[in-house]
């Protein structure tokens, strides 16, 4: 397994974690380090544990074993430095809040219990909405938003958290082109801010072109390194099994549009070569 050599001390360290819901663990014995400000694509078939990894990183799922260190401190020490945008936000979209209210919730982590939003908070909310192109929606009720607008509101809220680590679960899946473009611009903005970014994606082209490194996951960590190092037919076959098709010109096609929920069969089909 390749490792990128960190330019500076790793700011996110995952030490042999296993994570699961009620049954068997979804992630097993995963270890990696991500340096400060890196942009990492998390790639793997459905059910590989990409969302599970993110949920573990924000403390939504307990660790069965292993440890997570952020800035060399155990998880939970830095309350406000990880932001997470789930693939589909399971919130009630009829809730009586405006777009600006939702983005302001991103500031709550940095306010004391009784504190009300101050000028600095409102300024962060304003620039976050500007970055995601939703300024004109600020006073709209969230009941009236389209799917892409909802996604941008949640990205703006995560941005308003001013996180050191930004997790996005499949931000490019099933969104309109405006939102896709705004998300790509957000990536560049976060690069300038030196924010560490982890994105799970099915889009290998995007992963290869826009990211420093790729983390290939299928319940275990299969490979972690630069796109050239990771996106090899061997690794992809290990990850996606028989869903990988190597084309004549060296391109690799991954057929992963509607895989079964439980993906462990893929792991056993790697000897089919």
């Amino acid at each position: 397994m390749e490792k990128i050599s960190p330019q500076e001390p790793a700011r996110l360290e995952i030490e042999s974690i296993s994570v699961g819901y009620n049954g068997a663990p979804v992630l097993q014995d995963v270890t990696f380090q991500i340096p400060h400000g890196a942009r990492v694509a998390v790639v793997g078939p459905n059910g590989a544990g990409k969302s599970t990894l993110f949920k573990a990183l924000v403390g939504l799922l307990p660790l069965r074993s292993g440890q997570i260190f952020i800035h060399e401190m155990p998880l939970g020490h830095h309350l406000d430095c990880v932001a997470y945008v789930p693939q589909r936000s399971e919130v009630d979209w009829r809730f009586p809040v405006t777009v600006a209210d939702v983005v302001m919730m991103g500031r709550y982590g940095q306010m004391r219990w009784l504190q009300t939003p101050g000028r600095a908070d409102r300024e962060v909310v304003r620039t976050s909405m500007l970055q995601m192109g939703i300024t004109e929606l600020a006073n709209r009720s969230i009941r009236d938003l389209s799917g892409g607008q909802q996604q941008r509101v949640f990205l703006a809220r995560a941005l308003a958290q001013q996180p050191h680590i930004f997790l996005m679960d499949e931000p490019f899946t099933g969104v309109d082109s405006t939102t896709q473009e705004a998300t790509l611009q957000l990536l560049d903005h976060l690069r300038q801010q030196n924010v560490t970014v982890l994105i799970s994606t099915h889009d290998l082209t995007l992963a290869a072109s826009r990211f420093d490194s790729i983390l290939l996951l299928n319940k275990r960590l299969l490979a972690y390194g630069t796109p050239q190092e990771v996106l090899t037919p061997e690794y992809l076959r290990q990850a996606f099994g028989t869903h990988v098709l190597k084309l004549a010109d060296g391109a690799v096609l991954v057929d992963d549009c509607c895989p079964p929920e439980d993906d462990h069969v893929h792991g056993s089909s790697r000897e089919a070569e």
Binding site: V58, G76, D92, P96, T98, Y108, L114
Partner: protein, 276 residues
Amino acid sequence: MNWLLEPLQYAFMVRGLLAAVLVGVLCAIMGTYVVIRGMAFLGDAMAHAILPGVAIAYLLHGNLLVGALVASVVIALGIGLFSRGGMVKEDTAIGILFAAALALGVALISSIQTYAVDLSHILFGNVLGVSTGDLWMTAGLGFCVLLVVAINFKQFMVISFDSVLAATLRLPAEFLRNLMLLLLAVTVVVSLQTVGVGLSVAMLVTPAAAAYLLTRRLLPMMLVSALIGACSSLIGLYLSFYLNIVSGSAIVLTATVIFLVVFLFNPLQGLLRRRS
């Protein structure tokens, strides 16, 4: 104007009005959470579940409010205990406890001699029988509930809207949920005097539902809800005085009429507005 002042000659009527308005405001504000979190069933169950507490307090000649308060806290914590960690689904836990408590309450009350009258007061309220002590207790409890809501306003909003963010921000979600259950329990107990066990869910849900249709943000929704709750109590009590009908019913029916008017004619999304 005389008809407005006439009922106020009677001290019991003044106390009743004050109690009804206090309860109307309190229920309407907690009802905002009930509506946006979809806890109407819980609110209704809570109201019925305090019956054994009231019955025991009555049998022991204690304060009915105190008895109800103890019962509601026991029920709120019981629901939290049963549904903890997903062992039993929350609405199932509510159903079990609610029916059991109601059965126990009726069983206890049926052993009392003046069964019918007392039961009807408990079920439908007796706002005109509110004593000065009751009034102070209502005001005190109401103030405490509103204070806790004000202190936890941000946190309640986050746990109600987005549990993932609540977890990311490391909010003590379980504690906050239990706290909210407790506040709901206290509110239901206080509403016992005016509208009784049977109708308290209406005081929680109806003004807040009307306010939801009129507003787009949580705080304005609460304030509008409180206003509707207070008006329902005032108008309802006057109607009850002049038409000689049960006060609880008059209050609830007034709130329902306000809701219907809002539902049909409100400028944001009224049924009739949308079609025209």
